[in-house]
């Protein structure tokens, strides 16, 4: 691994130009997640309608990896029905936690495969997953609200 394969162009681009940034209304659930080692944090909102992700909005403070991965997540998941969302989510988490041994599927992950290099840097795994874990948490909460 070298620096360039960790910080691919696409990551630096998402880092500098985050997609979907900001906290928007309406939303069904809001969560705050932190990375306890470096203090990075994200506030993330999810709006659902008929099991479709209507909006993911967020305000985050963090490193390039965490910022970019949240931005890529926005592009990948926003507007999609949950049935399509979970396979992508799972594939992303699997790749990141795969210690470089999981072959990512570009058809499923799109730009997300740019983060494959993170898997070789265990200390950055939490960075890459910060937004994704917040999304999962918020969506589960939103669903809970829906059905109770």
């Amino acid at each position: 691994m070298n620096l360039e394969s960790l910080y691919q162009e696409i990551i630096l681009d998402h880092y500098k130009h985050g997609r979907g940034k900001g906290l928007r209304e309406p939303f069904d659930a809001q969560v705050q997640h932190v990375n306890p080692t470096c203090g990075d944090e994200i506030t993330l909102r999810v709006a659902l309608h008929d099991a479709v992700v209507q909006d993911i909005s967020y305000a985050a403070m963090g490193c390039s990896i965490s910022q970019a991965s949240t931005s890529v997540m926005y592009e990948l998941l926003n507007g999609k029905p949950l049935g399509e969302v979970w396979p992508i989510h799972e594939a992303f988490v699997k790749m990141i936690e795969g210690r470089g041994k999981v072959e990512p599927d570009e058809d499923v992950l799109g730009d997300g495969i740019a983060f494959a290099g993170v898997a070789s840097y265990p200390a950055r795994v939490k960075c890459a997953l910060l937004g994704w874990m917040a999304f999962k948490d918020a969506t589960v909460q939103a669903l809970g609200k829906d059905y109770t």
Partner: protein, 416 residues
């Protein structure tokens, strides 16, 4: 017959080739206090320092990543060793700290009006046994005193078995804590049976597995335990590392005992929130190299085979009981049959104090332990102040047992 090839195993333990007192071969029969270490474990510890030493979970550099990997892989190995999940293994200094950690969960939850499961009130009962090591007795005395709960205990029969009286387990019982194998009597307790009764009334079950995990196959789920505690130094690993295994859902509810770095989620000047287990219970830079070496010790034990180790120890115990029975004035404290029994043989000799008996054994090169072995109430139960105790492990052989019997004979003659 022993299932182990002891002669070959002994070569792995450098210390066993030293001599003591006037050039006697060392006969080490004190593994119940602490075990000796094979070279492979010492190599692992040293290798960690020479190639990967860094603070875990804190750095983003390569050394820190490698150190964290080694540490967390050791956790996974140890979890598998006792049939638990990796997130259920907490590293402590020793079993004593592990047991205190559980006791403090009750004390602190009660002080904080925390999770019900851990809150104790006057009228609630903590149930232990009369054969407990001080490590599984004194912490509960403290908790009982500070919460107003009552400490009760099962007795011990004359032949050194647990006097299990199910009627002592009632709705008032909130926690049952008992040893899996007595470090004095050698008795293996029917933990699964006690645990089932305890769970029926919703009590939590803590098992002091200090003398079982190193010596026989232990599976936390088969035991029915909610927590088990054991020490690395008694199972071929370095000093300075112990383990608390706890059921994930319980650890998740427990307040930490120690607080500080690496166990937090967020920290402000006036309050903090805490990380999920096991990190919540590992404040500060942990005993990293020791944990890594404990992982290697588990692998070594697994390779030798825990069932074989147990059978080997039972075999030696049989020889020792037989040999000592042939000497005049020797009384065994503990079962004299081999059913549900591990390799600890404690005894007293008419008219000879154990300190004196142990001294003659020491002079013969035989290292045993004398005193109350941190189980003072148990000794009082048998009307003795102190016993002489021999404990066996995978590196002991028939000759060691013969040396014990021979040395005891010499003591009887010396003080006749």
């Amino acid at each position: 017959m022993s299932p182990l090839d002891v002669a070959t195993l002994r070569k792995d333990f450098p210390i066993l080739s030293r001599t003591v007192r006037n050039d006697r071969d060392l006969v080490y029969l004190d593994s119940g206090a602490t075990s000796q270490k094979p070279a492979v474990v010492l190599d692992a510890e040293r290798d960690f320092y020479e190639t990967r030493n860094a603070a875990v979970h804190r750095g983003a550099h390569q050394l820190a990543e490698e150190a964290t990997d080694a540490f967390e892989m050791a956790r996974a190995t140890i979890a598998a060793f006792v049939g638990g999940h990796v997130s259920e293994v907490v590293f402590t200094r020793n079993a004593t700290e592990a047991l205190n950690l559980v006791a403090y969960a009750f004390q602190n939850a009660t002080a904080d009006a925390g999770p019900d499961r851990f809150v104790l009130e006057p009228g609630d009962e903590i149930l232990i046994t009369e054969m407990e090591h001080h490590a599984n007795l004194v912490p509960w005395q403290q908790v009982a005193r500070r919460t107003g709960a009552t400490l009760r205990w099962f007795g011990v029969t004359d032949d050194g078995r647990l006097d299990f009286d199910p009627s002592m387990i009632t709705d008032r019982t909130k926690v049952v804590s008992l040893t899996h194998q007595s470090n004095v009597l050698g008795t293996i307790n029917p933990v699964a049976q006690v645990a089932a009764a305890a769970h029926e009334v919703g009590a939590l079950v803590v098992v002091d597995a200090c003398q079982s995990v190193p010596h026989m196959p232990v599976d936390v789920h088969a035991l029915g335990a909610d927590f088990i505690a054991f020490s690395g130094h008694k199972m071929l690993a370095p000093t300075g590392v112990g383990v608390l295994w706890g059921r994930a859902d319980l650890l998740a509810q427990m307040p930490p005992m120690l607080t500080g770095g690496s166990m937090i989620e967020q920290v402000f000047m006036d309050h903090s929130t805490f990380a999920a287990p096991p990190q919540r219970f590992e404040a500060g830079v942990p005993n990293i190299a020791q944990a890594v070496a404990l992982g290697v010790a588990c692998d070594y034990l697994t390779d030798v085979g825990l069932q074989a180790i147990h059978e080997h120890e039972v075999y030696l115990t049989g020889l020792a009981l037989e040999g000592l029975a042939g000497l005049p004035g020797i009384r065994i404290i503990g079962p004299t049959d081999l059913a549900d029994r591990g390799g600890a043989v404690s005894f007293v000799a008419d008219g000879i104090h154990s300190h004196d008996l142990g001294q003659v054994l020491d002079d013969s090169g035989v290292a045993v332990r004398v005193g109350h072995h941190c189980a003072w109430p148990l000794h009082r139960r048998f009307g003795v102040a102190a016993t002489t105790r021999a404990t066996f492990y995978l590196y002991n052989d028939e000759q060691d047992v013969a040396a014990l019997v021979e040395g005891t004979k010499r003591a009887l003659e010396f003080f006749a």
